[in-house]
């Protein structure tokens, strides 16, 4: 009986870990792709944190949430931050290279051009600020 419970407990832990690991791996893969493709956006690194924002013209949450959140962050950080907006319908090549699966997607790059965070879906201003503070 106790062996069975222990086995099931271990299985439950494994399932939870696999779920968390799966999510983490997807994000890591996206970050690696972003790192490999950073020079598709710049010729020279801007030496400041960058937010690469993928959107489309018909993306409502992009207009209603993501864009205002980015405006808020840009206003707070001013010249210390660069935001690059990419229309995935105009630049499907970039969206593909960066592994963008949905919009909005935001990548946060540090001053060395290293992709450090990816947000699949809407990322609020508070979350972006928290992430930027660690860069």
């Amino acid at each position: 009986m106790s062996t069975d419970i222990l086995f099931r407990f271990a299985l439950a832990v494994i399932i939870v870990i696999i779920g968390a690991l799966g999510y983490w791996l997807i994000n890591q893969r996206l970050l690696v792709r972003a790192r490999n493709n950073v020079f598709t956006l710049f010729n020279k690194l801007p030496n400041k944190p960058v937010i690469v924002y993928f959107t489309t013209p018909d993306c409502t949450p992009c207009k209603t949430v993501q864009r205002p959140a980015l405006n808020q962050v840009s206003k707070l950080l001013g010249e210390k931050l660069q935001v690059i907006e990419i229309d995935a319908t105009e630049r499907p090549d970039l969206a593909k290279k960066w592994g963008v699966m949905s919009v909005p997607t935001t990548f946060l790059l540090d001053a060395r051009g290293e992709a450090r965070y990816v947000n699949n879906g809407v990322a609020r201003a508070e979350k972006l600020m928290e992430q930027l503070q660690t860069l």
């Binding site: 419970i5 099931r8 407990f9 439950a12 949450p61 209603t64 949430v65 205002p68 879906g121 809407v122």
Partner: protein
Amino acid sequence: MTSQTLQKVDHAALKANQLFIISLNVLAFIFNQPWLAAFVALVMGIGSARKLPGFLPIYKNILKPRGWMKPDVLADNPEPHRFSQFLGIVFMTAGSIALFLGATVLGWSLVWLVAALSALNAFGGFCVGCAIYYWLTRFNLPGFSKQPPAGTFPGMKPKAGARV
């Protein structure tokens, strides 16, 4: 996103409900107790009949008064959350029946599915059942009339600005 009357929805109560569902489902699996999964389905069913989260009494009478969870009241539509709970009941009931009939893999898979979707809602702020509700609204199906709160992606938790 048309103008509509939003109501006060305590997302802490929803989160407490989800945390209980996750915990009890995982415990049901660990201790191999299909009746516990059936109990979760029953509580969710009672909650659904009352148009409230199933485990709301625990939040209301224990967690909130003791300050273990603080209210997180936002302007939102309660209907998609009710629909989401209804979907949970369907899966939990099907899972419980499968378990009692000896189809353990199917049964526990359904129980884990509910736990996983509850976790996505509780920790990721994304309610799959609500997203399905809003998606069905687009087809003008009877009973599905609510639009997501302005500025909120269908299924996502409303932003803090929607606090009431």
